[in-house]
């Protein structure tokens, strides 16, 4: 039985019994006491009138003495009945009010509405475990793309935040420990529409448990995990977790990428950005000595990546023994000018403020800016709340961990091929990247492009597959024509073509012909995808973009055209 109704019935048992008994006693009394009618004849109230009288008396509505005026015996009994029934009602109403206030009851109501929300999911959805900075960014981005999510977090405040958040989709939120199998099941792990689980809690053990549970209970679904240590990363990857994201590595890597190939970095930024927002501007970090403040997990990852690029680094760290950099670092916090001077900030090319304290990071870059205004400044932003002040500090690059992870995960979830594409462009040269950027700019102009993906399959592109199955030939540039006017190109660029045999072509040429089972990734302006979908799904539209001829659709017309062509 439904839990809420069950609790309600169980708690209301006593008050309901009291009311039934009070009514029964009052009604019976009214029936048994002899009265008189208007003419003074002996008369007894029947059950109908007694029930009518008690009903309005008990609820204190009080229509008066009906149907005939009462005698004193009846009035005496009425006094008794009033106290009996009114107290019964007060007791019942008080019980209902206290029940509604009851935490257990409230919890049951919340859980039930959550369960209903999950059960009613009719589209595929992702379970997001952990609604911190990263989780909330991810959920928001997915809601903008009309993708459904379910949130699990152990912190009730965060669930409240989720409820207050103005998302135009309903996102059910459950306050529970995500490492418990039952919480994941409640969140719809075994629901047929569950597409995957994203584990973003700040505890590696919890993320690990979530990944294992998902792999065992719903083997077909996608699992994306955040891991802060190498151990956990390897452990998660060992049993088939689809993607493991280490936040420190990810953004140290991104910084190194910006250093050695700004073009590739820019391409990366463009393709993982939120569509329709202004395009990020290119960055050109200088080569030369860099000052690195903070040698924690982030600092270590940055140093590793900068070393690989052949960039000299000077480390500033307040606790050299604890972080394992004793002997080759400048001791100090980096927030004071003295330490920075000792690290040679006046002649350095850039500075990375990478401690886990936002106030210190800002203080470091501001002090450094006074000593050497021309240097390239990178700061790590830990808390999303501090966005405004980091913006106001006019830094060259702000590394916001939650944003980077959320974008990467979002890209992986929304467009399966994008992950492959981003991996492939890392192997290309910076010049190559610059060339592609100029191609993209011509199409998308000032805003971040929309990215879409489709396979050549019956479910996604029936018209296209139909032509291929009949031995026809379709080129990529057939698809990039507008189905309303084929002379107009659609504003989009093919990014990646993945063949069935895993051969991948980056930025395929328009003359390439498609085969069944191919997968394609496109970037373009918003709206171009809708137009392309029409071509993929409608045979006549496809015929038109290929040949420029409007096909005959009806039986009669087809026959007519055939006869004519024979003449």
């Amino acid at each position: 039985m439904n839990k809420v109704i069950f609790i309600f019935l169980r708690r209301m048992r006593a008050p309901l019994l009291v009311i039934i008994i009070a009514y029964a006693v009052s009604i019976l009394g009214m029936v048994l006491i002899p009265g008189t009618d208007a003419e003074g004849n002996p008369w007894r109230m029947d059950f109908f009138h007694a029930f009518y009288f008690v009903s309005y008396m008990a609820t204190t509505i009080g229509f008066g003495e009906l149907p005939f005026e009462f005698n004193d015996a009846q009035r005496m009994w009425t006094v008794v009945s009033i106290y009996l029934t009114v107290i019964g009602w007060l007791y019942a109403i008080g019980k209902i009010l206290s029940l509604i206030q009851d935490p257990a009851f409230k919890q049951a109501v919340v859980e039930q509405s959550f369960a209903r929300g999950v059960r009613d999911m009719s589209e595929s959805f992702f379970i997001i475990c952990g609604y911190g900075d990263t989780g909330s960014l991810l959920v928001r981005a997915m809601a903008q793309r009309e993708m459904r999510t379910v949130v699990v977090d152990h912190n009730p405040e965060r669930i409240n935040e989720l409820e207050l958040e103005d998302l135009h989709l309903y996102v059910p939120g459950l306050c529970a420990d995500a490492s418990l199998t039952s919480s994941l099941q409640a969140a719809g792990l075994q629901h047929r529409n569950c597409a995957g689980v994203v584990a973003l809690t700040d505890d590696d053990q919890v993320n690990l448990k979530i990944a294992i549970t998902t792999k065992l209970l719903h083997p077909g679904s996608k699992v994306i995990c955040r891991a802060e240590t190498r151990d956990a990363e390897i452990n998660m990857a060992s049993f088939g977790t689809d993607s493991v994201i280490n936040p420190y590595d990810t953004f140290a890597h991104r910084l190194a990428l910006a250093l050695h190939s700004p073009g590739t970095h820019l391409l990366y930024e463009w393709l993982t950005g939120v569509p329709e927002t202004p395009l990020p501007v290119p960055l050109y970090p200088p080569h030369g000595t860099w000052v690195l403040c903070g040698y924690g997990r982030f600092g270590k990852a940055v140093k590793e990546n900068l070393d690989r690029e052949g960039v000299n680094t000077v480390i500033v760290e307040v606790d050299p023994e604890g972080t394992g950099c004793a002997g080759f670092c400048v001791v100090g916090r980096g927030t004071e000018a003295e330490t920075l001077r000792a690290a040679g900030v006046e002649h350095a090319a850039g500075i990375v403020a990478g401690t886990d304290n936002d106030a210190n990071n800002l203080s470091i870059v501001m002090t450094a800016a006074e000593l050497n205004p021309d240097m390239f400044m990178v700061a790590r932003q830990n808390k999303r709340d501090n966005h405004e002040i980091f913006q106001a500090a006019l830094l060259d690059l702000v590394m916001q961990r939650s944003k980077i992870i959320a974008r990467d995960i979002f890209a992986m979830i929304t467009t399966p091929l994008l992950d492959d594409f981003l991996r492939l462009i890392l192997e290309q040269s910076n010049d190559w990247a610059n060339e592609q950027i100029s191609r993209l700019t011509a199409v998308v102009r000032e805003s971040v492009p929309d990215i879409w993906y489709f396979p050549v399959e019956e479910s996604h592109s029936p018209a296209l597959l139909g032509v291929l199955d009949k031995g026809g030939c379709v080129h990529i540039n057939d698809l990039t024509r507008d189905s309303r006017d084929r002379e107009e190109p659609l504003s989009c660029v093919p990014l990646l073509l993945k063949r069935k045999d895993h051969e991948s072509v980056l930025f395929p040429q328009g003359e390439v012909s498609l085969r069944p089972g191919d997968q394609l990734l496109f970037a373009g302006r918003i709206g171009a995808w809708e137009r392309m979908k029409w071509t993929l799904q409608n045979r006549n539209a496809l015929r038109y973009v290929q040949t420029g001829k409007e096909a005959a659709t009806g039986y009669f017309w087809k026959k007519f055209v055939r006869e004519n062509s024979r003449l």
Partner: protein, 127 residues
């Protein structure tokens, strides 16, 4: 001995016996069917229903269902009675009485089911 079981059993059996007492007699003879008995049958049935609230077992659910059926039938009978006596110009007629009694007969069947279920449950306990 469990006091809860005593009270529970008492009300369920009492609901059946009162119902039976009202039902028995010549079918359409108003003189054979006491209005007080119907009143008490309804009250005791309602109490029995409330007592069954909150039992999450399968047998508890079926017990609650039979009780609700009995309530429905008896209240319908009471409404027919009230309508015949208070509203209908013809007053209490044998045909009306027979429909009241047949409604209570339905309730009786539901109450019998309740008691049978109660007995089954008791036997299954084996203590």
């Amino acid at each position: 001995m469990n006091l809860e079981k005593v009270v529970f059993g008492f009300f369920i059996v009492l609901a059946l016996t009162l119902n039976f007492g009202f039902f028995i007699g010549e079918f359409d003879n108003p003189g054979h069917h006491n209005v007080y008995e119907l009143f008490f049958a309804i009250v005791v049935n309602l109490i029995a229903t409330v007592l069954k609230f909150g039992d999450r077992t399968q047998i508890g659910a079926v017990l609650l269902a039979t009780s609700l059926v009995a309530d429905l039938q008896l209240i319908a009978a009471a409404i027919v009675w009230g309508y015949a006596v208070q509203v209908s110009p013809a007053g209490m007629e044998p045909t009306v009485m027979s429909s009241i009694v047949s409604l209570s007969g339905g309730a009786l069947l539901a109450n019998v089911t309740s008691v049978v279920l109660l007995i089954i449950e008791t036997i299954n306990l084996r203590r």
